[in-house]
Amino acid sequence: MSLTTPSTVRQLEPAVWGRVRQSRRAADRVMKVTAAGFTFLAIFVLFWILGMLVVKGLGGLSVATFTQITPGPGSTGGGLANAMLGSLVLTFLGIVVATPIGVLAGTYLAEYGKGSKLADLIRFINDILLSAPSILIGLFVYVIMVQPLGGYSGWAGGVALGIIAIPVIVRTTEDMLRLVPGPLREAGSALGAPTSIVITSITWRAAKAGMVTGILLALARIAGETAPLIFTALNNNFWFSPTLQGGVSNLPVTIYQFASAPYENWQQLAWAGSLIITMSILLLSIIARRIVRGAK
């Protein structure tokens, strides 16, 4: 008897009762369809971009793309060899600049600066640098390096990329070190190891996979950066000098300059370069994500 419909509801006209419920259900359905639709729209755009790269980029890919240097205006053929090597050099420089500073700063925030006001401030500023427009970092390096040293150089490009990478590495290093359980550190200290030894041989070792991920993510972040290189490493159509003085050819700026140029071989190379760079970056990000998931 007590399980029957409550009397208040039974007194409602069936039509009214049904309509109220239906309008709520309709709103619910509209929301569900919209949310799913938005999600598929975003995924569709991702695959649209990737599909476009594959369709237009594969046509431009050949052996010459990897062996010949970027062609001058009006000449035929050519490849991206100098741009690819230049990009590798600049990205490598950036990582070399950023890794020691980023790892040490992240270590300070996680190990030494726990609870201090200064560490809180540094963490906050680091988060801001993490999303700061990369064009500003390019301008900054132009003002402090290119202008005083009298010219564009690969070194300036490497430093600009390094500055973009630092906040990424600081953030992931700190996050990963925080995942290391405290008793591990205490055990190390109990054996008489000074803090530095505890950090380098226990905490770092435990967090190694995560810290490598941070560096990979930073690599993925800077490999496609274009804006800061326009002001620092610039670009050209020949092999760069081993001293990295003058411009250093690189993929992103080459793509930028070739994409809307009137020469067909330039446009083809721009598409081939876009395909190469995007696929490398997506692969790097996917590998990095795998490692993180394994570490957690």
Binding site: R24, A27, D28, V30, M31, K32, A35, A36, F38, T39, A42, I43, V45, L46, W48, I49, M52, L53, P100, L104, A105, E111, Y112, A119, I122, F124, I125, D127, I128, L129, S131, A132, P133, I135, L136, I137, L139, F140, V143, I144, I166, P194, T195, S196, I197, G224, E225, T226, A227, I230, F231, L234, I255, Y256, A259, S260, S274, I277, L282, I286
Partner: protein, 323 residues
């Protein structure tokens, strides 16, 4: 006596061994401390270099640099107004398209997606953030712009021509597909992964007891989202949106490709314009003298605007992470 000296020497031995380790300890501590300080130095350095680099222009034009629409490289007269308006309008268009999309995606990922589907979709959305800005630019210029011109700009301009207000704001004088609105649409897709993944994490953090009790009294999924989840996530959603705004304001390469790079201000969002970042990227390598300072001064404005936006964003996002 010999035994005593032996005993005395015992504490001395570890002390000797300790010295190099103590030094390493000190060096390591200081190295990490100064690396951390370097982060502060970087931000201060960026700020100072922008202010000093732009100073000649601020001194020459004063406040009129902000309000003037002139960009005359021959007579060295510069004003930032069209670029400021372009930056703000592209960012606002990006937000008004990107925010609903991001919220929908976050709700789908946390409430609706079947468990096996959640991970691949999450990864796909995050990969949108990994695609380099210049690739968005190429997709925009070569794929989106022609479609946009043919299927939106031309038909729309034909319909609304001569209408009040709408006929001005949405009318394209030269329907090339390039313009402020196009840049805003491309930017919207670029900021989606940032907003969506933060909001997703926020919604995931909300204790499931709250959701379950709402379902328990008969709420539909929409009502749970609207009356339980959104109020709980509250200001952090605004923080995530501000973070997206910070991205949109400073985005350079994609915008440079599709915004049209016109120096004059137009009343229509279908017309070409320019943003602070696109103008710097476009003119920097040919700029000399005062024009160079004017571009750095533009960078200075961008720095302070994004700095304020990002500070607010981080404060709002951090506040909710505590619950």
């Amino acid at each position: 006596m010999a035994a005593v000296t032996d005993q005395m020497s015992i504490p001395a031995a570890p002390a000797q061994r300790k010295t190099p380790k103590g030094t390493f300890d000190l060096i390591f501590r200081n190295a990490s401390f100064f690396s951390a300080l370097f982060v502060l130095v970087l931000l201060a350095g960026i700020m100072l270099s922008m202010v000093i680099g732009g100073w000649p222009v601020f001194r020459e034009f004063g406040l009129s640099f902000l309000t003037s629409s002139q960009w005359d490289t021959i007579n060295d007269k510069y004003g930032a107004w069209p670029a400021i308006v372009g930056t703000l309008s592209t960012a606002l268009i990006a937000l008004s398209i990107g925010v609903p999309l991001s919220l929908g995606i976050a709700v789908y990922l946390t409430q609706l997606a079947p468990p096996w589907f959640k991970q691949p979709v999450s990864t796909a959305i995050e990969l949108l953030a990994a695609v380099p800005s210049i690739i968005y630019g190429m997709w925009g210029l070569f794929v989106f712009v022609p479609l946009f011109a043919a299927y939106v700009q031309i038909p729309l301009s034909n319909i609304i021509e001569g209408m009040p207000i709408v006929g001005t704001i949405l009318y394209s004088r030269s329907p090339s597909g390039l313009g402020i609105l196009t840049a805003g649409i491309i930017l919207a897709f670029m900021i989606i992964p940032f907003i969506a993944s933060i909001v997703r994490d926020m919604l995931d953090q909300i204790p499931s007891v709250l959701r379950e009790s709402a379902y328990g009294i008969g709420a539909t999924t929409w009502e749970v989202v609207r009356h339980v989840l959104v109020p709980q996530a509250g200001v952090s959603i605004i923080g995530a949106i501000m973070l997206g705004l910070g991205r949109a304001l400073g985005e350079t390469m994609a915008v440079t490709f599709v915004v049209g790079n016109a120096n004059r201000l137009s009343a229509s969002i279908m017309d070409p314009g320019s943003t602070i970042a696109s103008r710097i990227a476009n003119e920097f390598n040919e700029a000399l003298g005062l024009q160079l300072n004017a571009l750095i001064a533009l960078g200075c404005i961008l720095f302070f605007v994004t700095f304020v936006v990002l500070v607010i964003a981080r404060i709002l996002v951090a506040r909710v992470k505590a619950f």
